[in-house]
């Protein structure tokens, strides 16, 4: 692959029903590109959790996915309220999602931890009242993380 492929999506923040549609599309494109199932699953789950987060917390945003020869990079950017305490937000089980979101099967405080679990690198840049950008990378042909998503990391 000579240069990175780029896919861009706008994530509609007013529609929980359609949340995840961009991740489904990325999954389809990665399949077409012939990547192995485990890599596709890791990329699409991490992006899906991120998309859900953007809809629940930030009224949507944009998703950009870059595919180059070494890795798949997912950049999720929103103009939501920002994350006051990233360490707290990264704790499994911590959530600020409202009850109506929990009733929909999310808001268990697993979103950000899942995104970290399924990717090789994750960086969160956040400014209160301005927004959050999450950058995730999944390395291609890299097996160190393949079991990462399968357990509670030894707990």
């Amino acid at each position: 692959m000579a240069e990175a492929l780029r896919f861009h999506y706008e994530v509609d923040g007013d529609n929980f029903t359609s949340a995840g549609a961009a991740s489904v599309e990325v999954k389809r494109k990665l399949r077409q590109l012939g990547f192995d199932a485990e890599l596709i699953r890791r990329v699409s789950i991490a992006m899906y959790e991120g998309e859900i987060n953007m809809v629940v917390h930030a009224r949507g945003g944009s998703a950009d996915v870059y595919v180059d020869k070494d890795c798949v990079t997912i950049i999720l950017a929103d103009r939501g309220p920002g994350i006051p305490d990233i360490d707290l937000a990264m704790q499994e089980g911590y959530s600020t999602a409202p009850d109506n979101i929990r009733a929909l099967g999310f808001g268990a405080g697993m979103g950000l931890p899942n995104m970290k679990r399924y990717t090789d690198e994750m960086k969160i840049e956040t400014v209160l009242k301005q927004g959050t950008t999450v950058t995730m990378k999944v390395y291609i042909n890299h097996t160190k993380q393949t079991e990462k998503g399968t357990s509670e990391e030894g707990k």
Binding site: I45, E49, G105, A108, R117, E147
Partner: protein
């Protein structure tokens, strides 16, 4: 276990995916919390849930699952069935409760051994 046997064991209606009833699945998980499914499930072909919204089908898609079983007489919307058909996921609906449905499937040999370290 074939998806067809799951339908029989649970007295479930097949709402879509009739052509997939002879597909073999090795394991299942039961949850109403999709984030937990995304966190802890690996290589499980069947999702048993009482939650009804399109994210259930999307979660199953993300996890490469072949079949979703709705319990407690819950019925998916036409929109959810369309999404499931598009992505080749069989959808069953049973009046069993979650505990009963999981118990019957487990006792009949559909284990959770694929859930590594889980």
């Amino acid at each position: 276990m074939k998806i067809r046997e799951i339908a029989t064991l649970l007295g479930a209606d097949v709402l879509c995916g009739e052509s997939q009833l002879d597909e073999e699945v090795q394991s299942a998980c039961g949850s109403d919390m999709m984030s937990d499914v995304l966190a802890f499930v690996k290589d499980q072909g069947v999702l048993v849930t009482g939650l009804v919204n399109p994210q259930v089908i999307r979660t199953a898609m993300m996890m490469d699952m072949h079949c979703v079983v709705f319990v407690r007489s819950k019925r998916p919307t036409p929109e959810m069935l369309e999404l499931a058909k598009e992505h080749h996921i069989a959808v069953l609906a049973s009046c069993s409760r979650m505990y009963e449905a999981c118990g019957k499937l487990y006792a009949s040999g559909l284990g959770n051994e694929a859930c590594a370290n889980g």
